[in-house]
């Protein structure tokens, strides 16, 4: 099972790196968003209120855009590629071989998690080089753990969403339609401190807000202790489990659209 998972992972990763849509949406777009938002709202003297004090607005965007990078790799890209694999008969053909079903899913999830960790490192590096953002030391473990938990949660939600999309052309628009509004009300594109209360309240319901918030806690230099945001991580886990239950009930290896 472990051998099969790593075998599938090698080929899934290779296919991911060769796909133009994933190159753009998952690798390039988060970098573009970090540069655009940090340049628009950041700059000298602009700060944002965070628990425990103020940080430079450019730096504030680093954890927020890491959340976007994780979600893009584990939700947006996963929904698009798994739906396409299913509708094109690729999953069905794999299922006709002796490879365990769990290895097919684990290989795809591992690809998403590795890409999410890679994007975290890239965004931290850009933040450090361009905006003087720090690389966390004491809270590093919490940052990595939050990325992994968030990645797992959004992979589960991705498998749940793919089970209700019947047309591969609908996958990318569906994920973007769900995510774009949530990015605005979850502290990813704009700080929640400037949102009206009711709108921030709506954002609190969804997992995007809790991933962004947990990453901010793990990244914020004013955070005391190890930087684990227990409540956010529990809510993320609850969303992940709900997604997993839907995926287990509804996931199909056979094409749904024809």
């Amino acid at each position: 099972m472990i051998t099969m998972t790593s075998h599938l992972f090698r080929y899934e990763l290779r296919a991911f790196l060769r796909n133009r849509q994933s190159q753009f949406f998952t690798l390039a777009l988060p970098v573009m968003f970090l540069v655009i938002f940090a340049s628009l709202f950041g700059g000298r003297g602009h700060t944002t209120a965070v628990p425990g004090g103020q940080i430079s607005t450019s730096v504030y965007y680093v954890p927020g855009i890491i959340a976007l990078g994780v979600i893009s790799a584990c939700f947006g890209n996963l929904v698009a590629s798994v739906t396409a694999q299913r509708e094109r008969g690729v999953l069905k053909r794999r299922r006709a071989t002796p490879v365990p079903a769990g290895a097919i899913i684990a290989g795809r999830v591992l690809t998403a998690v590795v890409v999410a960790l890679f994007m975290t490192a890239v965004l931290l590096g850009i933040g450090w080089a361009a905006y003087g953002a720090h690389i966390p030391g004491r809270t590093a473990l919490a940052l990595v753990a939050t990325v992994v938990i968030g990645a797992a949660c959004f992979c589960c939600l991705g498998y749940a969403l793919t089970s209700v999309i019947h047309d591969e052309d609908a996958a990318l628009p569906a994920t973007q339609a769900l995510l774009l509004p949530l990015y605005f009300i979850s502290g990813v594109f704009v700080a929640t401190s400037i949102l009206p209360h009711w709108l921030a309240g709506v954002g609190e319901v969804f997992p995007v807000r809790h991933l962004a918030s947990a990453l901010l806690t793990a990244y914020n230099p004013h955070t005391a202790g190890l930087g684990f945001s227990g409540q956010d991580l529990l809510i993320l886990a609850a969303w992940g489990i709900a997604g997993l239950l839907i995926a287990l009930r509804r996931f199909s290896w056979l094409p749904l659209g024809r």
Partner: protein, 325 residues
């Protein structure tokens, strides 16, 4: 008894009953979707080493049956055994011995032909050599091309290679040449015929009668969820017992009524002024016809003798108006 002959005896004892068992055995298979009966109680066997063709019009229940045999769909009733196991519950060990070419499947995105086969080879316990498999389907020149950049016929050959790379005993081919041009179909037939020579058992679903006639050892015809005929391409639907058709054009001054007494009751007018005889003893009737025509001093230059085509037999078997089943 030395150890080698002991081993041989043991092998023979282990293999002999397995040989006698059919590779695929289906009894009383029923599949219902709600109140609709897609498969309405069918029986057939597939023997080791043969090409078994499964024919039927769209909606006859072919794909449903094949997907049950491949383990993709549960059945409603009946007994199904594939390589000695129930496909509904069989696991990885069973899939290790079965190859599948699906009716519709696209290449793995982002992988070359060789990478794609390396991916699938990794799923099997004892895979075939990758380059040798690529050569077997004639894709050697395309080994480093992305699967998604291949033409339709080349993609189908990649599908074959994927189904073969695990070195399976039994291969399901679901409409493997649909959409091919005639030369690509001919090339695919050569690959399939080559698989039989490797000792594989092949379960072939097709719409094309010439394909079944060229490849199949045995044919089973399905219509509206039931088996309406089975046999070899030669005997299907009593084809070998059916009368031959002798057709020719008589010279203008000769009428069909002028034919000798043994022939004129058999004669019917055909298309384009042809005279058509349905004959159960074609050699005798041809001799009578020849003697008669030559005796009157004319030839029959468009004389044609043919057996009913497999397509004709198939159409009469599956036509909802004329079919008895």
């Amino acid at each position: 008894m030395d150890s080698i002959s002991e081993q041989r005896t043991a092998d023979r004892m282990a293999v002999a009953p397995a040989r006698a068992e059919p590779v695929v055995s289906v009894h009383g298979l029923v599949k219902r979707y709600g109140s609709h009966e897609a498969v309405a109680g069918i029986d057939f066997d597939v023997r080791r080493g043969e090409i078994f063709a499964f024919l039927g019009p769209n909606g006859a229940g072919k794909t449903t049956t094949v997907e049950i045999l491949e383990g993709f769909r549960p059945r409603t009733e009946g007994e199904v055994s594939v390589l000695g196991q129930d496909p509904a519950t069989a696991g990885g060990d069973w899939r290790d011995r079965v190859g599948v070419v699906l009716q519709e499947s696209e290449p793995e995105p982002g992988l070359s032909v060789r990478e794609c086969l390396a991916l699938y080879a990794g799923f099997y316990r004892a895979p075939r050599d990758i380059d040798e498999t690529i050569a077997l389907v004639g894709l050697t020149g395309k080994a480093d091309t992305l699967g998604t950049r291949l033409s339709g016929g080349q993609r189908r050959r990649l599908d074959f290679a994927i189904a073969l790379v695990g070195d399976p005993e039994l291969i399901f081919l679901d409409e493997p040449t649909t959409g091919f041009d005639p030369s690509a179909r001919r090339a695919a037939w050569e690959v399939i015929a080559g698989l039989r020579q490797l000792g594989k058992t092949i379960f072939l679903t097709t719409h094309y009668m010439d394909e079944a006639e060229y490849l199949a050892d045995r044919i089973t015809v399905l219509s509206a969820g039931r088996v309406v005929a089975d046999g070899t391409p030669r005997t299907l639907g009593g084809r070998d017992q059916m009368s031959s058709v002798i057709s020719f054009t008589l010279p203008e001054h000769v009428k069909p009524g002028d034919l000798p007494a043994g022939l004129s009751p058999l004669a019917e007018p055909g298309q384009g002024g042809l005279t058509v005889l349905h004959s159960e003893s074609p050699l005798i009737h041809l001799q009578t016809l020849g003697d008669w025509a030559l005796g009157r001093g004319f030839d029959l230059p468009d004389l044609d003798v043919h057996r009913p085509s497999l397509e004709g037999v198939y159409l009469s078997l599956t036509d909802p108006v004329t079919a008895k089943g």
